[in-house]
């Protein structure tokens, strides 16, 4: 072996050595548990895993007869269909408004809108529990000033779902705003100047130039937000516990209830596999859209 190949062989070994911890962590903490969950999903199992009994595909077929599972699945899709487009539109509008400001003011607004993202769903939910309080909450106080009767935001099946959506929106718009701002900053100035010369007005500049130019960013935000909302549960847990009467429950919250309250670990694993497959299909579809775009 000559000096060069000895060196590259040593370099390869060193490289493997450095990436090994990451791979081991991936195998031990992600792939391993994922494969075990898939295995467990075919069993009737509680915490006493030694006593599990094989159920096979019957576990998955049984989910189709479970009205609460179907309700949670439906709600989860509804959360995605309501929150994701709303978050994209709201964050895009805010980004277009902030874009016009100077760097200092932009930085201030970026920080302000990103703060809820940093605080996270749990802390925001605790605050919103009191904003939504039917007797002393800020929201009903404001409505009362306009002569509107108090609304039972979290206690009524007709309003609990939308209340959870509102809270989800508050902490999901921060990151898209940052990304949209970066995308808008990346639009070449000469395109905008040429458009101005051609007599394009401000609205047309936004609709016909800026939004098409940041389409890759929009698709990325769409993909990441979709995955995030599919997996949402902390807001549901804190605000409504999935109630009243499962009107606001989500699939991940139901997985938590099934595993830790009902102690039906096998069934919870099956629900988790179903959710994983759904997210994979949706993500693959979005990636395909992105590739076509490129």
């Amino acid at each position: 072996m000559n000096k060069t190949s000895r060196h590259s062989s040593r370099a390869s070994r060193a490289a493997y050595f450095f990436i090994a911890p990451g791979y081991i962590a991936f195998l031990a903490l992600i792939l391993g548990p994922l494969l075990y969950s898939i295995y467990l999903s075919f069993f009737n199992a509680s915490f006493n895993l030694e006593a599990k009994t094989f159920r096979g595909l019957g576990q998955y077929l049984g989910l189709l007869d479970d009205s609460i599972f179907l309700k949670a699945l439906g709600n989860t899709f509804k959360y995605v269909l309501v929150v994701v487009p709303s978050a994209i539109v709201v964050s895009l509008v805010i980004a277009l408004m902030i874009e016009r400001f100077g760097p200092r003011l932009q930085g201030l607004f970026r920080g302000a809108f990103y703060l809820p993202t940093v605080a996270g769903g749990v802390i925001l939910s605790i605050v919103w529990i009191w904003i939504f309080n039917p007797t002393y909450g800020l929201l009903n106080y404001v409505l009362g000033a306009f002569g509107i009767q108090p609304v039972l935001w979290l206690s009524s099946p007709s309003t609990s779902f939308l209340s959870v959506c509102v809270v989800m929106l508050t902490y999901t718009i921060g990151q898209p705003i940052i990304l949209f701002l970066a995308g808008l900053a990346g639009i070449q100035q000469d395109i905008l100047d040429a458009a101005t010369v051609d007599g394009v007005n401000a609205w047309q500049r936004i609709l016909l130039i800026k939004i098409p130019c940041i389409r890759p960013v929009t698709l990325f935000v769409l993909a990441t937000l979709t995955i995030q909302i599919f997996q949402s549960w902390e807001t549901v847990f804190m605000l409504t516990q999935g109630g009243p009467s499962n009107s606001s429950t989500s699939l991940v919250f139901l997985i938590y209830q099934t595993a830790f309250i009902s102690a039906r670990v096998g069934k919870a694993a099956a629900m988790g596999v179903v959710l994983t497959v759904i997210i994979m299909i949706v993500t693959l579809f979005q990636i395909r859209m992105w590739r076509e775009e490129r």
């Binding site: 007797t135 039972l152 979290l154 609990s160 109630g243 309250i261 009902s262 102690a263």
Partner: protein, 444 residues
């Protein structure tokens, strides 16, 4: 030099082997108690962790072959214990766990509980009496050892009634019993939402403290939640619907804090201590937080009265509620040789003195008759409930005795109560749906 170094290494190696061998003869026992490391005992104010350290240091001083490590794990509202569940799922539960019967029975139902029959002598069993049946398997084996429990009832803010000159509407000493009609009359008179006072409150967002709601059924004869003989749920019977219609009338007349379906018990605490609720069930808890709030937060003090839950006109007074008993569970050991020392530790922990101290910490009473009531006659609240329990009998309004998959049933009951606490609730349909679902759950 080299030889000296070799000698030194040999000595160090020998010492390590001896130390290791000595350490191996000590059995490590892990003990977890439900609660919080930072919480203090209700009777003495001593931190729980300091209390348990004293208890185990005393034990280890006379049992040199045992090393006990303990932890006090936090809890989640809603009757779940995430730390424990995670440890059990990972195959690393503690050897001993102390918690309420509702929570430890989950692990017994999964076949994880060791047989503790050898812990109690006949004399011990006589001291515990009937409560042992809540910890006994159908084959007669003991899967848990009870420690503490208590009673609780209905609490009334007497100051609010006095201010409005309505004290004559309240139940009278010494029994403090009243009918549903008298209860409604008092509720209607005191209710004043415009000035921030509601007659009472319900909460149903989670299963937590559902027995405060369930205890109303005790005032309606013939209401049965679960029939242990036929193993079916009966809460959709005509008698139960009558009781539920009475309760729903409180919602229809706006006598309860709005939005109960979205509240847990903790959400109602500020309403009570700020005197926005005139009366509520679950007296044990509300008496405790009242005294604490007045002492620590400087809130205006108020006088409260402990009464019975109202009974239907013509029915006998409502039996006093027993709070869910606490007990020890031992997880099955991989090595059966570990059991004798663990059983010996349980025997020590359930002794009258320690049981009395654990009970006092939770403001409860020890379940052994020969253990001293930590409050004796010094605590008028405890005396009130204990006297009423002796006179009117007791009932377990958690309805968990003998119910398989109880936690899942309890969650379903919370969802049924959430539906019930809507203005347009179809009570019969809600209860029929719950009974159907609960009967399916217990068969799984």
């Amino acid at each position: 030099m080299k030889r000296n170094l070799q000698c030194l290494m040999a000595i160090v190696l020998l010492f390590s082997m001896v130390a290791g061998a000595t350490a191996q003869t000590k059995q490590k026992i892990t003990f977890w108690a439900f609660g919080s490391e930072e919480a203090a005992k209700g009777d003495t104010g001593e931190l729980w962790r300091d209390f348990y350290k004293k208890v185990f240091d005393q034990y280890m001083a006379t049992h040199k072959d045992v090393d006990v490590s303990f932890a006090i794990r936090g809890y989640e509202a809603g009757g779940t214990t995430l730390f424990m569940d995670t440890a059990v799922a990972a195959g690393t539960p503690p050897d001993i766990y102390l918690d309420s019967n509702m929570r430890i029975s989950k692990y017994y139902n999964q076949g994880l509980a060791a047989d503790l029959s050898a812990v109690l002598t006949e004399a011990d069993r006589k001291q515990y009496g009937n409560i042992l049946k809540d910890f006994t398997a159908p084959d007669g084996k003991l899967w848990g050892v009870p420690v503490s429990g208590g009673y609780w009832d209905y609490i009334i803010n007497k100051t609010l009634f006095d201010k409005k000159g309505l004290s004559n509407l309240l139940p009278k000493a010494p029994d403090y019993t009243w009918t549903t009609e008298q209860f409604l009359k008092a509720a209607r008179a005191i209710n004043d939402p415009a000035n921030g006072v509601y007659a009472t409150a319900f909460f149903a967002k989670s299963p937590s403290m559902d027995s405060a709601f369930n205890a109303f059924f005790g005032g309606f004869p013939g209401v049965e939640f679960y029939d242990q003989k036929t193993k079916t749920f009966k809460i959709n019977s005509p008698q139960a619907i009558e009781a539920l219609k009475f309760l729903h009338s409180l919602l229809d007349e706006n006598l309860i804090v709005p939005g109960g379906a979205g509240f847990i018990d903790d959400d109602i605490d500020p309403y009570w201590i700020n005197q926005n609720i005139a009366m509520i069930g679950g007296a044990n808890w509300y008496a405790k937080i009242t005294n604490k709030a007045i002492k620590e937060q400087g809130l205006p003090s108020f006088e409260y009265v402990l009464a019975r839950y109202p009974n239907k006109v013509g029915a006998p007074p409502t039996p006093v509620a027993t709070s869910d008993p606490d007990g020890f569970i031992v997880f099955k050991q991989k090595d059966p040789k570990n059991m004798p020392r663990i059983l010996d530790l349980i025997k020590y922990l359930q002794s009258p003195e320690i049981a009395s101290s654990i009970a006092g910490g939770w403001s409860k009473v020890p379940l052994r008759a020969d253990a001293k009531n930590p409050f004796g006659d010094k605590d008028p609240d405890q005396k009130s409930w204990t006297d009423a329990a002796r006179k009117f009998g007791t009932a377990n309004y958690y309805y968990n005795t003998g119910v398989p998959n109880f936690n899942e049933v309890r969650q379903a009951w919370a969802e049924a109560r959430q539906s019930f606490l809507q203005k347009d609730a179809n009570i019969q349909k809600i209860m029929d749906d719950f009974v159907k679902r609960a009967n399916q759950i217990i068969k799984q």
